[in-house]
């Protein structure tokens, strides 16, 4: 057994041991407040057991291991339905970027340790009402104010802002230069005067994302994490941190086995639906697609293990898996017929076809829309030209609204 396999086995054993306390079954029927409280205890248990901050430096409370161990752990963890999603963004991007770019090391260390133990949560204040994919077009501004800055504007789609203690934010500090060049990166206290958080109820019924308003929010200059005008580079660095995350060829929807079981159970034209050619074709096509993604993911892991950088084909997972999950979920509801109408808006997207279906559009938009991902593949992998950009090189305040 390789070292990694031994490590995986040990991690898997620990996860199984805590699953009754924190896993899928323990969460059934909990209010969101109770679920979050359980999540904080789970995060603390992970920290105590040595599975928090797996690939982070030990000086910040991490384990000092590699991406490979992190991805390996995540893949095992995913099996049990733990309440860890409250910390996914926090520990995925803002806190690592704070470690990298925060100036006051003692303050950073204190924050990181609290975040790793589930005591504090960080959010990422990037998207705005005027644009999500076009990040550099953001309008929230910070103006000099005494020795510090004053922030005004609005962010949106901010995951877990309503539970967050702190956030990282990109704002415009100079509207007279081209849009990428007038941005600066700060951290903010989400409890500061002038910060207002309003949850947004999404189509599926849940409210994980928020609008965040900034009205004359004053911060000192030591909140700054980039040079003035150098915020875009740190924003991109933030988005690149978790390039090799644990992926799911089911597109974070149900496993194909569940569809096969459904097709065996349901009668169509007087025989099991599994015998119907239309159903068979979709099963076969979905299996072939998912098997391809699985093979890509395994090879990426083998490459990391061999000290190589995985190929760009890893970027296909979200694009391919989520949109096919959307269609397969529709077909599963077709198969259920009238029985499909019974709807539980809190059901797991990994186990319930209606929940998977109604939340699938979010998956195709959040964290890089299908269209943005296709552009990225076309431009970065295949070397095709950028789209025509009428705002290129024009000072931000002269771009036609």
């Amino acid at each position: 057994m390789s070292d990694l396999e031994a490590w995986r086995a040990k991690a898997a054993e620990w996860l199984v041991s805590v699953a009754p306390t924190f896993g899928r079954d323990a969460r059934k029927g909990l209010s969101e407040a109770d679920d979050l409280a359980l999540g904080r205890r789970y995060q603390k248990a992970k920290f105590d057991a040595g599975y928090a901050g797996i690939n982070w430096p030990t000086e910040y409370g991490g384990q000092g291991l590699g991406h490979l161990e992190k991805v390996t752990f995540d893949a095992e963890e995913m099996k049990h339905g733990f309440p860890n999603f409250y910390f996914g963004i926090s520990l995925g991007m803002p806190v690592p970027v704070l470690m990298q770019f925060g100036s006051d090391k003692e303050f950073v260390k204190e924050r990181v340790l609290k975040a790793l133990q589930g005591e504090e949560i960080w959010c990422q204040l990037f998207s705005e009402p005027s644009g999500g994919s076009d990040l550099a077009g953001l309008r929230t501004k910070a103006e000099p104010d005494g020795n510090g800055w004053k922030i005004n504007g609005q962010k949106v789609w901010t995951s877990w802002a309503h539970y967050s203690d702190y956030g990282v934010i990109v704002v415009r500090t100079d509207p007279t230069v081209a849009k990428h060049k007038g941005l600066t990166y700060f951290w903010v206290d989400m409890k500061a005067p002038g910060v207002t958080v309003r949850p947004i109820k999404l189509a599926g019924g849940d409210s994980h994302v928020n609008e965040v308003f900034f009205d004359d929010v004053k911060i000192t200059d030591d909140h700054r994490m980039s040079p003035v005008g150098g915020g875009f580079a740190v924003a991109i660095a933030t988005l690149m941190i978790e390039r090799y995350v644990a992926t799911d060829s089911a597109g974070f929807g149900p496993h194909l086995d569940l569809f096969v079981e459904l097709a065996k159970d349901v009668q169509l034209n007087g025989r099991p639906a599994i015998e119907d050619g239309r159903i068979r074709q979709q099963i076969a096509r979905n299996h072939a697609m998912r098997a391809g993604l699985d093979s890509i993911n395994v090879r990426a892991r083998l490459m990391m293990q061999a000290g190589m950088i995985p190929g760009p084909e890893g970027s296909l997972n979200k694009l391919v898996a989520v949109r096919s999950r959307q269609k397969l979920s529709e077909l599963a509801l077709d198969l259920q017929g009238g029985d499909a109408f019974l709807f539980d808006e809190h059901a797991s997207q990994k186990e319930d076809w209606a929940s998977s279906w109604i939340n699938a559009p979010t998956g195709r938009i959040a964290g890089g829309s299908d269209e943005t991902l296709l552009n990225t593949i076309a431009e970065k992998v295949l070397g095709l030209p950028q789209d025509h950009r009428p705002d290129k090189g024009i000072p931000f305040n002269q771009i036609p609204a």
């Binding site: 068979r280 099963i283 299996h287 391809g292 395994v298 090879r299 296909l316 552009n375």
Partner: protein
């Protein structure tokens, strides 16, 4: 478990690509489309000279003792360059049937020639759309065969065929020496595949397997061939994606390269996705030879590779506009090959059923 190619395997890919790019081109392939009964001899001479015919056969039988992974790498390159003959797959299938299910005498009689490439093999299983029919067109009565198997790739040149036939109340996998077979050339849209209707009547039948064992054996041979073909399809799809990309970078319309239009660049990015899924499935399937889930892996590779090659042929021509449909540019060579490879060894309809039977735990 899938694999990363090692240095030796990467060298096989690089070297075979170099040789094929030097020796196979559309100028030689285009005239073959209008000639019935001819294949691109320099391609096959190259395959023999480079040892590709022997690659995946056991050393004891005149082979080189490598496997599907290595043969797949060659097939991928052959697909990129639109190989000039179907024998890499058809002879491999026949040889594997003899290696796995033949007697020592049959192995001694046929395998050295198949390994050297001097002997050509063919697989004659299909009836219409069914790659493994419940009622095969060939029958075995006593020691001899009867019936005609239609649309057999390599059938015009084959010296030996593996036949899936109706025995007395049970299927039979049989070996047929084709020296005295009557064959009718089928003029096709891809003539260098050497498609023939094989009239087997009166040929001696040498039995390889009987009953459900015959069916299992035939499916295993089809799956082995399907993995080779899937590599070939993936190579073709990859080449078309690159051709489309290169054209979109140079061809201009409305003052910019057409690759700057999302309707074009997204189409090519989608091809990238199809090619990479097919490649990943091919690598996985080749590495699963001999494992319990080999049929499942082969079916997945075959389905994704067929989709990739057909789609790439469609879209690459579409991106070229008018020039794409001319004879001279030769994109139709890929379009034709995408279809002939989609049909040989069973179409997607066949492999979808095979795959679902495996996943649902039902007998085929």
């Amino acid at each position: 478990m899938t694999i990363l190619y090692d240095e030796g395997q990467q060298a096989i890919a690089t070297e075979s690509r170099r040789v094929l790019e030097a020796r196979v081109g559309k100028d030689a392939l285009l005239p073959l489309l209008e000639t019935v009964g001819e294949y691109h001899r320099p391609f096959w001479d190259t395959a023999k000279e480079q040892g590709w015919t022997a690659l995946a056969l056991p050393e004891a039988d005149g082979g080189l003792g490598l496997g599907l992974i290595e043969l797949g790498l060659i097939a991928h390159q052959a697909g990129r360059g639109i190989s000039g003959a179907p024998f890499l797959t058809s002879s491999f299938g026949a040889a594997k049937a003899i290696e796995l299910f033949g007697s020592d005498a049959q192995k001694a009689r046929w395998l050295p020639g198949l390994a050297s490439g001097e002997t050509i093999g063919a697989i004659a299983f299909a009836a219409g759309p069914d790659a493994l029919p419940r009622q095969p067109d060939a029958t075995v009565a006593g020691d001899s065969l009867d019936g005609t198997v239609r649309g057999v790739s390599a059938g015009l040149a084959a010296d030996v065929a593996i036949v899936f036939a109706n025995g007395p109340g049970t299927p039979v996998l049989a070996l047929a020496d084709l020296a005295n077979a009557r064959r009718a050339a089928v003029p096709s849209f891809d003539n260098s595949r050497l498609i023939a209707d094989l009239d087997l009547s009166g040929l001696p039948a040498e039995t390889l397997a009987v009953g459900s064992a015959a069916r299992d054996a035939a499916l295993r041979i089809l799956a082995l061939q399907a993995v080779v073909t899937a590599h070939e399809q993936t190579g073709g799809a990859e080449a078309l994606m690159e051709i489309a990309r290169d054209y979109a970078l140079t061809r201009k319309a409305f003052g910019q390269p057409i690759g700057a239009f999302q309707s074009v660049k997204h189409r090519i990015a989608e091809l990238y996705g199809l090619v990479e899924l097919a490649r990943a499935n091919c690598i996985h399937a080749a590495a699963r030879e001999g494992a319990a889930d080999f049929i499942t892996a082969a079916a997945a590779a075959r389905l994704s590779a067929t989709e990739a090659y057909d789609t790439a042929a469609r879209d690459c021509i579409q991106i070229h506009g008018g020039i794409g449909v001319t004879w001279e540019i030769g994109l139709h060579l890929h379009m034709r090959r995408a279809r002939s490879l989609a049909i040989e060894q069973g179409s997607s309809l066949f492999w979808e059923d095979v795959l679902v039977d495996q996943l649902a735990g039902e007998a085929a």
